[in-house]
Amino acid sequence: MKKILLVCNAGMSTSLLVQKMQKVVAEKNLDAQVEAQPLANAMDKIDDVDIVLLGPQVGFEKGNMEKDVNGRIPVDVIDMRDYGMMNAQKVLDKAFKTMEDFK
């Protein structure tokens, strides 16, 4: 079971992306769980997940986030276009690839 954490500013834009990703997960029967948290709450969740995906508007936090996860899991910034188009499939595909390459 791969746990994916999406992080943005307030949770507004990522929550829509999460819904779409969860739909893809259900449709394709993927072994994954996707949740979204605003930046302020993300710290409480990073120990429970397998990857952290940052929205482009909080991409600047990548360095800090990598320090916080201490190399345990990958931290990636969601591609601006995939995010803008809310392309759940692409975001999921990249997330799985990143987790695969990280090992």
Binding site: S13, L16, Q57, Y83
Partner: protein
Amino acid sequence: MEGMEAVCFEIISTVGAAKSAYIGAIEKAKTGDYEEAAALIDQGNEMYQEGHTAHVDMLQKDAAGEQKAEFSLLLMHAEDQMMMAETFRIVAEDFIDVYKRLTSCAN
């Protein structure tokens, strides 16, 4: 994704990415990498321009009565991100200057 929602997401993603680029530019200046800092400002400007264009398009369509820009929390968030990105550009450009001066004072 329809109409207003799509426009809002285009704005949020592009100006949001611009904001991150501007903040990244400050980080680079902090470590003395002024070339990379300048490159990030340029990248940020390109991305901001995309969001700005989408925003202008939305305003024009609203004024022409083609597509009413209905109030929504998402639109408010998009506007807010735009203002934040612009603010950070101004701040980043000045901070890069300050770091350059700090470095030359120290030397």
